[in-house]
Symmetry: C2
Subunit: 483 residues, 2 copies
C-alpha cells in the first residue's frame, strides 16, 4: 500500500458548493445516473446517492474478486442443476422453516415439475458481493445474488462521472487531474446486456425475432438502471424488450398450450427470455394470481433468468452450506480453487438442531456483537445486527429459527475522507464499501455452455449504518481507484 | 407530396398511457432530454416538452434551408465586419430608438473601441429560423439569431428519442417500425462543440491549454442543452470549460492590463473563448457592474462568440434592412444567391419616418391581422401579434416606434395529428413547426477563415399560440421525417 496514493482531494467548501457539486449533479442528470424520487412522477427524476470521489481499493483484492467470479458462477449453476437432488433436499428443509416465501417458491417449482418444465436451458445473471477485511485485504463474501442483481447499469455511469470530474480537473483547484491513474469504468452495462443477448440466442431459431420480457416491480424507483440494459440490448444486439409486472402476465402474455411458447398478447411476438428484476421478495406477490403467473413463466418455453432452481440456489442457507469444505467440494473438484473459494468465506452457521446449529445458538446469545442474523430474503432491510439478535430470536418461534443463518461480521477498513452526495446534502462521514462482481452463466441440467465475468459495482454505506441498499436509501453508488 | 407518407401512427389511448408515454419519458430522463423544472432544485430534473412523433417536413424545403446557411453566415459576418461603417450607422439609429438595451450595448462597444479592441477574430454561432409557407413549401425566415442560439444539444437527443421509439416499434401495435425511412439525427450537438473548438484553435498557441468560458444566466433552466456541448467539447477536443454568469466576471476572472489576456482567477488558466449563452436580454444586466463586466469581456484578448458587433448584426432591424435588395446586394455580390436569399424573406417594414415607414404605420393600423410587431429583443415573449398591434402602438411614444419592425405573418401548414407531451399531460392540438439551421463562421475584420453548417432543430408550438420559446413554455422540441 502506497500511502501517497490514498490521499483524497481537498476541496474548499465554497468551491465544492459553487462548482463541484453542481457539476456532479448536472452530469448525473444529463447522463442518466438517476432514480425516481419517492414522490414518484413519471416525468421527473433525481440524482442517485453517490460518493464525490472514487474509493481506494487494493488492486489484489479487486483482481481476486474478479478471478473467482467464474468459479462462483459455476458453483451456483451446478447447484441449480440439482444433481443428486441436493438442492431439492435443502429446499425441502428451508421451505419448512420459511413457508411464507421459500415454501411457496418451492411449491411453485413442484407444480411446474408436475406440469412439465419444457425449457432445459437457464441463464444465471449473478452478483457476488464482498467486503475487504481490514487485517489482510482478503475479500470476504457478504452474499451471492442469483436473482434481480441491480446497479450494473448505473455502475458504469458513476465510474464515467468520477472519471469526468477527475479528467476535467474538478477535483483540484488548478483544474488539473487529481488521480494520475485512470479511473476504471465497469463494463457491466454492456456485459449484462450481452448476457441477455446470449440467452436470446440460446433460445434457438424462430420465424421472426423474439423479445425479452423484463419482469419488474410496479412503482420501481430504480428504473433507469434497468433501462440502460434495455437500451444496450437494443443498440448492440437489435433485441427489443418489454416491461411487465408479475401482476400482468396473465393479461399481457399468452402461452401456447402445446409448445409452451410464450407470446406477448398484444403483438404475438415470441418471448425468448424472461429476465426477473422482481419476484425476489414476498412483497412482489400480492395475490394468488401473481403466484400463478410465476408458475406460468416457469413452465413456459422461454428461458428464465433465473429459473426457480437458480433463484433458490441463492439463499443464505445455501451460502452457509457451501462454507463447509465437504459440501463445497461437491461443486468444485479442484482443490486449489476450492481453497481459494473457502478463503472468501467468513463463518456462517445454521440455527437448526444440528450440533453446529446448537453451537451457533449459543454464539448468538453470548457474543451477538460479532454477528449478523440473516433471513432468506433479498433486497436489504431484513438483517438483524449484533445486540438486536438475542431479543429478536427470543420473540421468534423456534420452528422459524432454521430459516435464518448467523454470519460472522466482516471488518472492512472505513474510508474517512470521501463525501456522500445525497441530493443537495453532503455527508463527510466514514463509509464502508461493498464490491459486487457481476457474472453470467448459460447452462442446462447437464452442461455449462458459457460462463463469463460481467463487470463490477461498488456500493458504499455509512459505517454507522448496518444496511447498504442504495434504492432502500441506506447506501450510495461509488467507483474505484486501485492501489 | 406523397399523401401516404404523411400518415401518423395511431396509438390507442391505453397503449399510449401504459407503454408509449412511459417509454418516451424514461428515455428522456435516462438520456438527458431534460430541463430544470420551475421549482428549481440542482438535483432534480424533468423532461422537456416534446412531440410524440417526428413532424413531416418537405425534403426540398429542408435542403433549401441547409443550402442557404453558409450564405447567411457570410452575410452576417460581413455585416459584423462593419465595412464602410454600415452597421455603425444602423446601430446609431437603433440605439436612439431603444436606449435601454441596444443603446447600452452600443455604448459598451464604443467604450471598448476607446480602450482598444485587442482581439480581431470573432466566432459567430448562428441559427436561422424558418417557417414553411403552406402555399408553395417556400422556407420563410422568422429571424436570424447571432447570440446564444439554443437547443443544439437537445435537438440531437429528441431525434435519437424519436428514432428509438420508431426502431423499437413503439409507434405500432405490433412493435414493428412505423416510419420506413430513417429518422434523421441532427448533428448539432457535435458540430456546435466543433465550432467552439475552432474558436479555441484560432486563438493561437499558448504555453498551457486554454479554456472556454460559458457565460450563462443564473437560474438557467435549460442547463442540459448547454452541458451537452460542454461534454462534447471535452470528449472530442479535450477542451475544458467553466460556467460563469455576467455578474461574476469581475470576481472570477482577471485580465492582464497589458496583453488583455483573460484568466480564470482561481486557476490562472487562460480563457481563449467567451461563449455567450446570456447577455441577449436586458434582464441579464441587473447592475452597472454587469455592463462593466460585458465591457471587460469585449476588450479582452479572448475570442468572443459573439462579439458586440456580431450580436448587434442580429437585430430585427438589420433583418428588415436586408429585405431591401440594394442593401442585401452589399453583402452578396452573386445575383443568383441574392435572389435565393430574397426568396426566404417575407415583407418586413420599419416603423420610422421614411416613406416605407409611413406606409407600414398605415398597414399596422388598417390590417394588423396580417402582421407581427417585433422589438429588438431575443428570447421569446416580446412580440405583439395581429389585432393587439394598434393599441400597443398607440400607447407607445412615437419616438420608440422606430425600435420595432412590422413583419408579415408567415402561413405554415399546421400539423394536426402529432401529440405534444408536456410532463404527464398530452395535447392533441394542431401545431406549427419552426425549423432552425445552425451554422458557425470564424472571421476577422477583413477575412472569413471558416464557414460551416452545424446541424438543425425543429421546434413546434400550438397553432393557437403565437410564441414558440420551449424554455419559455410556449413550444416543444420536435424532430423530422422528410417527404
Amino acid at each position: 500500500m502506497v500511502k501517497q496514493a490514498l490521499e483524497f482531494p481537498n476541496i474548499s467548501k465554497k468551491r465544492l458548493q459553487d462548482e463541484v457539486i453542481p457539476e456532479l449533479l448536472q452530469w448525473s442528470l444529463s447522463n442518466g445516473l438517476t432514480m425516481y424520487p419517492p414522490t414518484f412522477k413519471l416525468e421527473e427524476t433525481m440524482t442517485v446517492p453517490m460518493t464525490l470521489f472514487p474509493t481506494y481499493l487494493p488492486k489484489d483484492s479487486f483482481n481476486e474478486a474478479i478471478k473467482v467470479q467464474k468459479i462462483y458462477n459455476e458453483i451456483y449453476a451446478k447447484i441449480a442443476q440439482n444433481k443428486d437432488q441436493w438442492l431439492s433436499t435443502q429446499s425441502d428443509i428451508l421451505a419448512a422453516h420459511d413457508p411464507e416465501f421459500i415454501g411457496k417458491l418451492w411449491k411453485i417449482y413442484h407444480d411446474a415439475l408436475n406440469i412439465g418444465v419444457s425449457q432445459k436451458n437457464s441463464l444465471g445473471i449473478f452478483r457476488s458481493d464482498y467486503l475487504i477485511d481490514r487485517e489482510n485485504d482478503q475479500i470476504k463474501q457478504v452474499e451471492f445474488n442469483t436473482i434481480s442483481v441491480s446497479f450494473g447499469g448505473l455502475s458504469t455511469k458513476v465510474c464515467e462521472l468520477h472519471r469526468f470530474l477527475n479528467d476535467t480537473g474538478r477535483y483540484k483547484p488548478d483544474l488539473t487531474s487529481f488521480y494520475s491513474q485512470e479511473i476504471p469504468i465497469s463494463s457491466s452495462s454492456e456485459l449484462l446486456a450481452k448476457a441477455l443477448s446470449r440467452g436470446v440466442e440460446k433460445y434457438g431459431p424462430t420465424a421472426s425475432p423474439t423479445i425479452v420480457a423484463f419482469i419488474v416491480q410496479s412503482g420501481e424507483r430504480n428504473v433507469f438502471d434497468q433501462k440502460i440494459l434495455e437500451y444496450n440490448l437494443f443498440k448492440n444486439y437489435g433485441i427489443k424488450s418489454v416491461r411487465l409486472t408479475l401482476h400482468e402476465i396473465h393479461e399481457k402474455t399468452h402461452m401456447d398450450p402445446d409448445s409452451k411458447r410464450l407470446y406477448l398478447a398484444s403483438t404475438q411476438q415470441e418471448i425468448s427470455l424472461v429476465y426477473f428484476r422482481a419476484g425476489y421478495s414476498p412483497n412482489d406477490f400480492t395475490t394468488q394470481q401473481d403466484w400463478s403467473n410465476r408458475l406460468t413463466l416457469e413452465v413456459s418455453y422461454a428461458i428464465k433468468a433465473p429459473n426457480l432452481l437458480t433463484q433458490l440456489s441463492g439463499t443464505k442457507k445455501i451460502q452457509q452450506l457451501l462454507t463447509d469444505p465437504e459440501t463445497l467440494h461437491k461443486f468444485i473438484p479442484d482443490k486449489s480453487w476450492m481453497n481459494t473459494i473457502l478463503s472468501t468465506f467468513v463463518k456462517i452457521y445454521p440455527l437448526d438442531d444440528s450440533p453446529l446449529g446448537q453451537y451457533a445458538k449459543k454464539l448468538a446469545m453470548e457474543c451477538p456483537e460479532r454477528y449478523v442474523l440473516k433471513p432468506q430474503r433479498e433486497g436489504g432491510g431484513n438483517n438483524i445486527y449484533k445486540h438486536d439478535i438475542p431479543l429478536f430470536l427470543q420473540q421468534l418461534a423456534q420452528q422459524e429459527w432454521g430459516g435464518y443463518v448467523l454470519m460472522e461480521l466482516i471488518n472492512p477498513q472505513p474510508t474517512t475522507s470521501n463525501i456522500v452526495i445525497h441530493g443537495d446534502k453532503q455527508f463527510k462521514e466514514p463509509i464502508l464499501s461493498e464490491l459486487g462482481i457481476f457474472g453470467y452463466i448459460l447452462f442446462d441440467n447437464n452442461e455449462i455452455f458459457e460462463n463469463e465475468y460481467a463487470g463490477w459495482m461498488l456500493r458504499s454505506k455509512f459505517a454507522s449504518s448496518d444496511e447498504g441498499g442504495v434504492a432502500a436509501g441506506f447506501g450510495c453508488m461509488d467507483s474505484i481507484v486501485l492501489y
